[in-house]
Symmetry: C2
Subunit: 217 residues, 2 copies
DNA sequence: ACCCTCTTGAAACGTTTGTTCTGCGACAAG
DNA sequence: CTTGTCGCAGAACAAACGTTTCAAGAGGGT
């Protein structure tokens, strides 16, 4: 059981449709939803393929239950509908963020992801995440291994924690943002550290930090 | 529309049942699921009450669709099936945690809650959360306002971040736990701070910290 | 008493939806 | 050629499920 072989296009299509239907509607599709969504001529074909997908561990089916399809992940666990945020790179002392291009790579399994609470994803739209390598952000109470959730769309207001790109130093930091005339003050969370003053033209705001997550073990 | 009045017991019961059914099965219940689950004698009674619940903004119904019930939150937004963790109290310098009784209060709306990623809830079973008041945990890189997710069931192993109750001081701290003979060493995350050494009998481990969440704005 | 709204009860109806049966064509192995 | 498996097609069946209708009790106000 649960032999995850390579999928024929038809079954890949069905699986993909179930995923998107679940995302759009919050409930699993019926056999006939799948039939229409995948341009299949008969419900028996859908049933046939679902049967195989179940045998191979891609999903569970509750017999005689409407919309009884339940997707499984690689570990055979029920898949959650929690939004996943891509970890687009690591942020480290003085190092630029690799692969920052938010567009282009529409591939899904390319990056690591973190699950965030649906509430977050609802409040802000598109989010991305950065993992923090090293203790360079320790003054912002952010440790090695922490994950920072960033809202790229937002305009920064005074007092916001932002991901700031310093052009002259070619480095990224997490600081509180204050615009003072045409100067920018970047204030570490730790008030004992001194702030960075720099011309506004030297600063590129890459986003607003909305959450920091630290996992143990 | 969406007049959220006080609910009669029957409708409260139905709403509660839908919530728990959704948590247990991942899909919404049918009319007859509700009928059986709430010991109601007729489907028309269920429909009658669902109709009112929809009018008052507690849920949406997709007409003629099996399991077409969608719960709404106070803001009229679709409610997520993300697990919610109760914030059972605040943890502050030297202050005991109020209302630590994990049992007893089975009421749902009694506490504030935080949504956590389903993955967390799957890995550990029951979780609770503490909000941190004040900067007493700053040495553990935990700020004022941070929320700490705790697994109460776990046995603490050396190196785990734990919620420790110090009987003699009558206070709670977050430290890394090391059992050394019959002594316990509680090590602050900040290595510049000195650890606490105390007899094992003086320490009560209230749980293992599995995640720290910091929200901005 | 009457009228009114809210709520429950029983049953039936019709759609939605999962299931099953039979047959067909493609293709590879023996 | 025969056999077997895989995938598709069409149709019909049966269970699940939302919906509707009609009736009646419970309480409150006039």
């Amino acid at each position: 059981m649960a032999e995850r072989k390579k999928l024929p296009p038809r079954r890949r299509q069905i699986l993909e449709f179930i995923r998107s239907f679940l995302g759009d509607n919050g409930i699993p599709p019926t056999i006939r939803d799948i039939q229409n969504g995948c341009n299949i001529s008969s419900t028996s074909v859908v049933d046939y393929n679902l049967r195989i997908l179940e045998r191979d561990g891609y999903l569970n089916r509750r017999p005689d239950v409407a919309r009884g399809i339940e997707l499984l992940d690689d570990a055979g666990q029920p898949v959650s509908n929690a939004p996943k945020v891509q970890i687009v790179g690591a942020i480290a002392a003085g190092l630029p963020i690799p692969a920052f291009s938010t567009e282009g790579a529409a591939s899904s399994a390319e990056f690591d992801t973190v699950e965030v609470s649906p509430e977050l994803a609802r409040r802000y739209g598109k989010l991305y995440a950065l993992s923090v390598a090293g203790t360079s952000m320790i003054d912002a109470l952010i440790d090695d291994g922490d994950v920072v959730i960033v809202n790229p769309a937002a305009e920064a207001s005074n007092g916001d924690m932002v991901v700031a790109w310093l052009k002259d130093r070619e480095e990224v930091t997490l600081k509180r943002f204050y615009l003072e005339g045409d100067q920018v003050r970047l204030q570490p969370a730790n008030s004992q550290m001194s702030p960075i003053y720099t011309p506004a033209s030297n600063v590129e705001i890459h986003g607003k930090v909305v959450e920091v997550i630290r996992r143990f073990s």
